[in-house]
Symmetry: C2
């Protein structure tokens, strides 16, 4: 029997808590659980050719052109003059098939750029846990789960998604948790699983309680909150490379 | 009936995640759960007059003098030439009563200095949760729980202690959780409470699993790990003011 080498799995609760150099050469799973990770996944699942993330509204507007739609949000709502907001349910095949989406989301884009030296950058959420795990479980490189946070603050929704992915990666046998941030996120996943109503109810409960979840409820986006809290609801693996996000093959 | 104004309760998982200015005027509960918070508490409970924290070994050595003992650790063990290590069980009345303890612990001291603009700085741990809550519950100022971490890394042992304190402060009725970091720490406390063996077993389990807990086990300090994981085992409230830590009255 061949020895299976254990690979370190770290979770970074904010981009500021890890240097780009520490991510170099590894596989990074960027999480912006409410809602950018899910919206990007939904756009690709609905047939968008690619998603081009930009930090600012102005950067997005400069990329306006034929075959392109502008999406994203500021303050949780549609940016004036944009085609699409940050609601994954808005990215239907009718709207986005064959299109390129220029997408501006400050936290998620900054996190993606932070991971630019990584060997590979994937985008994860509650909605694609199994797909991410299937892709990363056999990975020989160090894995890093990078939570985007919100304006420099740690968010429980990102950390719960990180914990669900970390727990299953470890269960898959090759990755080993290498820091307490990962252990805490796995703790949140265990807390969700201990909910009397089951894991799904536990995940929805913690997501609703989170700062981002409260914000979505306040804005009337309860349906988005439910979708973003549903395990494996949008089972694609978005891959960020060369400035664009495309739909990853399941390896 | 008079309205009771709700007071914000924030948890900062590392000193680097909050500015000294943001702590100004508030009540800060600094946590270095394994083991400095407990060792300082134990020294005061055993009759030490005060504990003077220093960042470096050299700073501590400069304060050597009559009536003073030097304590602390580097790499978890006794510093050569020092009188006491960082084991709370070493701080017995026979050793420390009436003495001043010069104590060097890099993470805890840095966190205390970070909170220098606060109205009041208390030192918390699993071992004095009830005493801290009794003191802070009626507090009209904003409360901040400040986790020391270890060399810039978030530690689960600090976060669990933070969660146990935060959960009980909120239950006491006046404080309201103001950020997701606090919600996550409370989540760890709930996970501990959901342990089949009860809260005590749950706390010991998470503390043992933490990076600091693993380190203590490796060094043979299982008894310290158990003591530091025991709710209300050392029921004093250390107060940091004017460069020294003394035993706070229960207000």
């Amino acid at each position: 029997m061949h020895a299976i080498t254990e690979r370190p799995l770290a979770v970074h609760l904010l981009p500021a808590l890890v240097t780009p150099e520490a991510l170099a050469g590894g596989v990074v799973i960027m999480i912006d659980a409410l809602r950018a990770s899910v919206t990007i996944s939904a756009a690709l699942a609905a047939g968008a050719v690619r998603v081009v993330p930009t930090l600012t509204v102005e950067d997005a507007e400069r990329l306006r052109g034929p075959g392109r739609l502008l999406g994203g949000e500021r303050g949780g709502v549609l940016i004036p003059g944009f085609d699409l907001d940050n609601s994954p349910r808005a990215y239907t095949p009718e709207r986005v098939r064959g299109k390129e989406i220029v997408f501006t989301t400050a936290n998620g884009t900054a996190a993606l750029l932070h991971a630019r030296a990584a060997h590979e950058v994937l985008i994860g959420a509650v909605t694609n846990v199994s797909a991410i795990v299937a892709r990363v479980a056999g990975e020989p490189r160090a894995a890093h789960i990078l939570c985007a946070g919100t304006r420099g603050e740690i968010t429980m929704d990102d950390c719960l998604a990180a914990g669900l992915i970390a727990e299953r990666l470890v269960a898959a046998g090759r990755q080993v948790v290498s820091d307490d941030s990962a252990r805490m996120c796995v703790g949140l996943a265990k807390l969700a699983a201990a909910h009397p109503g089951g894991l799904g109810a536990g995940v929805l409960g913690l997501m609703s309680e989170s700062r981002g979840g409260r914000g979505l409820t306040r804005l009337g986006f309860e349906d988005d909150l439910r979708l973003c809290s549903t395990l494996d609801a949008v089972a694609v693996v978005p891959v960020f490379a060369g400035g664009a996000i495309t739909c990853g093959r399941l390896s």
